[in-house]
Each structure stands twice: as C-alpha cells, then as structure tokens.
Symmetry: C2
Subunit: 463 residues, 2 copies
C-alpha cells in the first residue's frame, strides 16, 4: 500500500462503533488521510434525551489526555472536567482523610462520558473524509473478501466494502465475534461477583454538597461506594457490591436499602437523601462487570479491534477509556512505522499491545481489592508514604505504581515489572531497617553483660 496522501484517500476504512474509542479512532484515521466510514448501531448520542447503561462520569488521566492532545481536544475536555487531586476516604464514623494521587499539581479529571462522546463525534464531523452512519447494525461480515452488511433504521440491508475494518464496539463486540469465526482467536470473559448501581448527590443551594476536588471513597472491605463530581455541581455515586447482597436488600424491600446505608454509609444519607436511596433500589438493577481478554487483536490485514472490544476491564483503575485512547495512539505509531502497510502493521500492533492490555486488565482486578480494603490498612498507608518519599529521593527511578499507571505513559506491562521489582527492594529495605534497632539493642546488651564476647570474636577471626 502506498504512502502518499493521494493513495491513502482511496483506501477505505470502516470503524465499527461510535462510542469514545470509535469516534477517537475515526479522527486518527482521517488525519492519516484515509476515507473513513463510521457505523454505530444506536442513534446519534447527540440527539438522545436520555443515555442508559454505562457510567455517567469517567476519570481521565495522562494516556487519555495524550490522545485528546493529538486530536486537538485536550484543553477543551480537561478544562471542562473537574480535577481530582486525591482520594477522600470516608470512614464509617464519618471521619475523612485525604490520600493524594501523586505529586503536587498532579490530578485526574472527572469528565462527563456523554459530553466527551458528543465532542468527539462533532470533531469527527469536521473532517471531510469521515462519514458517520448511525442506526447501522452489523449483521454479517466476510472479512476475507472485505464485505460487511449492516441493517439500517428501516431494516434495509446496507453493504460496505472496506480495505480495513476497525472494531471499537465495546466489551460485547460484534466485530470480535465475527472475527472469531474466521481465525483461531483465544478469548476469555470473566464476570466478577460484584455488580454496580448508580446514585446521585444533588447540588445543595446550587453548590457541591461535598468536597469538590476529590474522588470520594467509602471502602467497606466486601463492598464500597465512590463518588465523582460533575460539572452541574452534583456527584455521581457508584455502589459496588456482590450481587447476592443486592439481591438480599432488594428482596427485603421497604426500609432495607436505607438501613443498609445507615449501617455502612451513614454520612452519605443526608447527601443522597433517604427517598432517593429507596427509589434507586426499587427501580435500579445492579449491572455486571466483565473482564475480557483476547489474542490476537487482528485477523490478517483485514480487521483489528481496539478498546473494550479487545480488552474490557473492571473499572477499578479508571483506565478503560484511557487504555482505549492509548490503543489509538499506539496503532497510529505502528501504521507510521510500517508506512501504512496493514499486513505488517496489524500483527505487529497486536503482538506489541497484547501484553500491555493484559497487564492493565490484571491491575484493574488488583485495584478491585485495593480500593475496597487496602486503603483502610495501616501498612498500606505506611507503604504509600514510603513510596512517596522514595519517589521524592529518586524521581525518575522510583515511581509508585499508581503514578506509573496514571501519570506516565510507561507501557502497562513494564509498569507491572517495575512495580514488582520496586516492591521486593522496598520490602527488603524496610525489613532490614526495622531489624536494625533490634540488632543494635542486642549488641549493646551483649556489650554490657559479656564484654569478652567481642574479644573472643576478634580472636577467632584471627585464627
């Protein structure tokens, strides 16, 4: 495939999915000069009155920001978001304590999912070589011959004949399912026993009802609640809890939801309101969370999947969107490297990105435990301080795990390697440091009561 702008404009790229990653990827491909058609099965999100399903707000960090910067939207999105500098931990007693995320000035941004999606679609529409097709649902794909069929709003069949298909259609990706029919694709999906349910802390007198620049966490070991600030001065709370507990509370009905809050989140009741808690439990159904891995991400030079379609993760590291956006950057780099030769770029991208996506899926699962319980542990808090101190001492050599994931673009699988190495060194160091007083005390005691031991040691050393 040629590399001149002239050639590329005749190369047809189909992007499946008009969510965050799909819209972003369409822009990346349009910037390269390809002819891009984006197909989204649902209505245009910009014309919808109410968006159901996915979480309302997202934590944007450096990897996502970098992709936004490359498409010229960083300032707009970060400027519109709300910076969160620290976790604010709520104890059962109502006691609060802050745990900064990184160094002075480092923060993650709470951004509105819908607004971000709309901004990306509107940006995409500015490119003359992007066409957006809403209400187009993929029903059949023959990737070997480059033919895809969609049904449109009226149920009519629509045909597309792309040179390359990019599936950005989420955790339950149709592109992936069609791809799995063609080739030998390893795949796994794993549900966690927890579900999530969203509640709202409305503004109070037109202002935020709780501390604004924080990600609020109520960690309770087996379950937890978090809250992220929105631009309209409300907070979106998300309660994570095993489905069995949700079922129990729902089955009990009546006052059970409020009683549950009284026991575990008493300080959240005046913020959310008893009535709102009751109605949310009555109406709401807890939603599942799934972790998806697959390999490879491509089928020949015909299809590649990005974002959740390739690696859905549990939401506990706030990296789902950030990783998906970084996919767009990395794929773009591979197209650069191989001069837009899909036959080389696709498998190379897949091989390179796979260990990274696997790593962040695993880290997200790890944080699923850390957020619920470790943030309550004294040892964990002590280690956080040690990490901070070492990072201050050796800023480029020692970076805490959370900072590597959130405030750097170090490859995720390298992050895990460095983290494990750092952990071994620090734990050993702390062990010796803690042993030191014991050894010194022992030596002093010996010196006081048996001073000849030292001369004996000296003596035997000489023989």
């Amino acid at each position: 495939m040629g590399s001149t702008a002239m050639d590329l404009s005749s190369v047809k790229v189909v992007v499946i999915g008009g969510g965050l990653v799909g819209a972003m990827e369409a822009i990346f491909m349009a910037k390269r000069g390809f002819q891009v058609d984006l197909y989204e099965s649902r209505e245009d999100i910009r014309t919808l009155e109410h968006v159901s399903g996915r979480s309302i707000n997202l934590a944007l960090s450096i990897r996502g920001r970098e992709a936004l910067r490359l498409v010229g939207l960083e300032d707009q999105i970060v400027g519109g978001g709300i910076p969160m500098h620290a976790r604010l931990i709520h104890g059962v007693s109502g006691r609060k304590s802050a745990q900064p995320y990184g160094k002075e000035g480092q923060f993650i941004s709470s951004v509105d999912r819908r607004l971000l999606n709309e901004t990306l679609l509107t940006e995409a529409e500015k490119y003359s070589n992007i066409r957006l097709h809403f209400y187009h649902k993929m029903v059949q794909a023959d990737f070997d011959n480059g033919v895809i069929f969609f049904t449109d709003k009226d149920g009519s069949k629509v045909k597309a004949c792309p040179d390359l298909t990019i599936g950005c259609d989420g955790a339950y990706s149709t592109t992936r399912r069609q791809m799995m029919r063609c080739g030998r694709i390893d795949f796994s999906q794993e549900y966690i026993p927890h579900g999530y349910m969203e509640l709202c802390i409305p503004p109070k007198d037109g202002k935020f009802a709780a501390e604004i620049n924080y990600l609020h966490i109520w960690p309770r070991d087996e379950f937890m609640m978090i809250a992220l600030p929105n631009q309209d001065c409300s907070f979106t709370c998300t309660l994570f809890m095993p489905f069995v507990n949700f079922d129990e509370i729902e089955a009990a009905g009546g006052e059970a939801p409020v009683d549950f809050f009284r026991k575990y989140f008493p300080d959240a009741i005046p913020l959310i309101g008893e009535k709102a808690i009751r109605t949310t439990f009555e109406e709401g159904r807890a939603l599942p969370m799934v972790s998806v891995k697959c390999s490879p991400y491509n089928y020949k030079d015909k299809v590649v999947i990005l974002g959740d379609a390739a690696h859905a993760m549990v939401p506990f590291y706030g990296q789902g969107m950030n990783c998906g956006f970084e996919d767009c950057i990395v794929f773009d780099q591979f197209l650069d490297k191989f001069n837009n030769d899909f036959a080389k770029a696709l498998p190379a991208y897949s091989e390179h990105r796979n260990p990274d996506a696997k790593a962040i899926c695993d880290l997200a699962m790890y944080n699923y435990v850390e957020m619920r319980s470790l943030v309550n542990s004294r040892w964990f808090l002590f280690r956080k301080r040690v990490d901070k101190f070492l990072n201050w001492l050796l800023p480029s050599r020692y970076i805490p795990l959370y900072s590597m994931v959130t405030f750097s673009r170090i490859r995720y699988h390298t992050v895990i390697q460095r983290w494990k190495k750092q952990d071994v060194i620090v734990n050993k160091g702390l062990f010796y440091l803690l042993c030191l007083p014991v050894v010194i005390a022992g030596a002093l005691t010996l010196k006081r009561f048996k001073p000849d031991v030292f001369s004996w040691l000296k003596f035997s050393g000489k023989t």
Copy 2:
C-alpha cells in the same frame, strides 16, 4: 415438578444437537419419561454419503462404556470396536516398543465415530417419547420465556416451547452463545499452536498392515503421529504438528511432505504410501484444536449444556466423548437426587461437574506434552514401571494417573489431587532409595578408615 411418570410425560425437553452426546442424552431423558425433541442442524448422519470434519475413530474407555451400559448398548459397541491394550511406540529408527495401558485384560476400544452416532440415533428412535428433527438450526432463543426458534430445510421458522433445553451442540455451541446473552457466564477458549491432519493406512491383502491391538504412536517432541485400527482393517493416522510447520511443508510443495516423512516417520511411508502422503498434504488443510471452559453450565432452571458445549478439550487424553457421556450419567443422578426439580438439579449439577470438567481439560493439555515427548524419556518409562509395581502392591490405594482417568470413574478433579499426592510420595521415596547406597557406602568407608568416629558419635549422643 412432580416425580410420577404421569407428570413427567407432559414435561417437554429439547435437546440441541444430534451428535454423540446429544443422542445419548436424549435417550437418558426419554428413559426418565420426559417428552424429548432432538434438533440437529445438519442432515441425518445415517443418510450422508461422506462425513467431513471430525476425527474418524475414538478411544472408548470406562466412563463412556458405563453410559453405553446404562442405555443397553455396551456389548454392541465394545464388541464392534477393536481393543487396544497398549501404546506401540515407533522410534525414528523403526524400533518399536509396547507400553501397556493398564493391567492384564484392561484395554481401550477404537470405535468408529459415525457408526456409534448412527447406533445411538437408531436406538433413540425406538423410544416413543423421542422425536428427531434434522436440518433444524437454532436461530433464536428466549430462555426466560422458554421459546426457541429454528429454521428448517426450507428456511421456514419452527418454534419450540420446552420446559428444559439441553445444549449438546459441541465446542462452538449455539446454545451456549444464546445462554451467554442471558446471564453472567464465565467463558474461555484457547487454541493450541498445533493442528491435525488425517491420513490412512489401507489394509494389505485384506488384513491389517500393522500390529492390530495397539494405539500406534510416533512421538517426535514438537510433533507426533498416532494411528488407531478400524474395523475394515485400515488404520486412521493423525498427524499433530504446529500450524507453522504444516504451512512450511505446504508452501514448499512437491516432494516436501514425503521428505518430511522420510526424515521423521520412515517406517510409516510403506504403510501409507508416498502418493497418499503427497495428495493428503495437497488436498488436506490442517484442522485446529480448541480447549473451551465455561461456568456455570446452566441458566436458571431453563437451560443446561453438556459435552463439548460445556468443556471442549484437546484430544490427547481420548476423554472428550467419555467425559461427555459421563456428563449424561452425572446429570441423570442429580435429577434423581432432586426428584426432577430442575431449579435444584441444574445448579447443583453445574457446581458439581465444573471442577471435574476443568480437571480433564487440564489433563488433556498435560498429555499433549506427555504423548509427544515424555514417552521417549527414560525417567518417564522408569516411573511408569514404579507406578505399575506400586499398583500391584497396593491395588486400591495406588493407581497410576492414566488408569484413574481411563479405567476408573473416580471424579476427574479427585484424580488430579490423588495423582499429585502420589507423585510427591513416590518422588520422595525414590530419592531416599537412590540415596541409600550412597549413605551406606559412605558409612562403610568411614568405618574402615576412622572407626573411632562411631564411638565419638555414641559418646556425644550420651552427653
């Protein structure tokens, strides 16, 4: 749900898939008294001229035999099969050595897949409460409301409203896919880098061209070939090899396949024939092997999956069909236990059977290595002898791994536990046994040159 025969005949059970496990399960359910409808997407195998795809012969062992016994077909099938008492290992030099599978009189049977399937369908047809529907492909399922749609040969839509659906539709199960849309089902599929290709050793002068009562193995570390005897005096050979090697040989073309055989399987060339080797490689495409795990196996009291649909495994332990048939027995026992109450029997069956299916999937993957290489190792052969001796000494307490899997109905996950325990004990025992001569020699040497060491030891022991 009631338990009298009267009630059960009004309970409608749909079995999806008319392969080995589907036909077997239909009989089991008919014997319980349910009204059974079996839907198979393809044509009736009994009317087909040529069956493509799956392997031609299977190794039937005790778990499969037990299910056949329960439906009254054991004698017919085992009688028609060919007993294999041992592995016959073919070295590159042409040297052969036998490794018995079990004790005197124990054997596995090489049975014809097609004949077995036909026998089971014909048997099923004898039951007045079984109806067979061929050319019926499941296209849609609403398990919550118990409605399934099929398309028949003419493309017409056919509706079924079962009380219970049993999916026995293989590794790429449509039932499972439909089930995964309803509930939170963990799932994984993993392809191995090896593919397989079938070749044939035709009869010679109307007789078997090689030793009959063996499973022939040509282990060559990275790849291997096996051969099982057929009733028509031919053997079916299966070559297992990484796809990359298949691709290399195919790409080279010409004499490459025969050259490959000359190098690695010289004694098989006169048996198969040079021309047949060339044409098989020209026509044949190596087929993939996949390992599938999922959990749970049921969705509410509405659907359950058995056999490959629930746990496809690589073929190296010859347990795919045997495990699938055992599924039918175990599910039947749970229906007994819970008096045909699907709401209790289905989840209980799933929870009970899951660790066993997972265990045999893992063991099959382990044997994938053992068959290719370990059978060549001296230590492995020595350990086989030790196992045999210990089994002779403690017949009920010490059973070799292969025998537990193949000649017993010990639960697969218990098999792994016992195997690991046995392994630790035997390896420790052998270590001490092998150390003993060294210790004795050391002691004797000491005694000769420094006899006072013993008195010194005696002395210090007393202080």
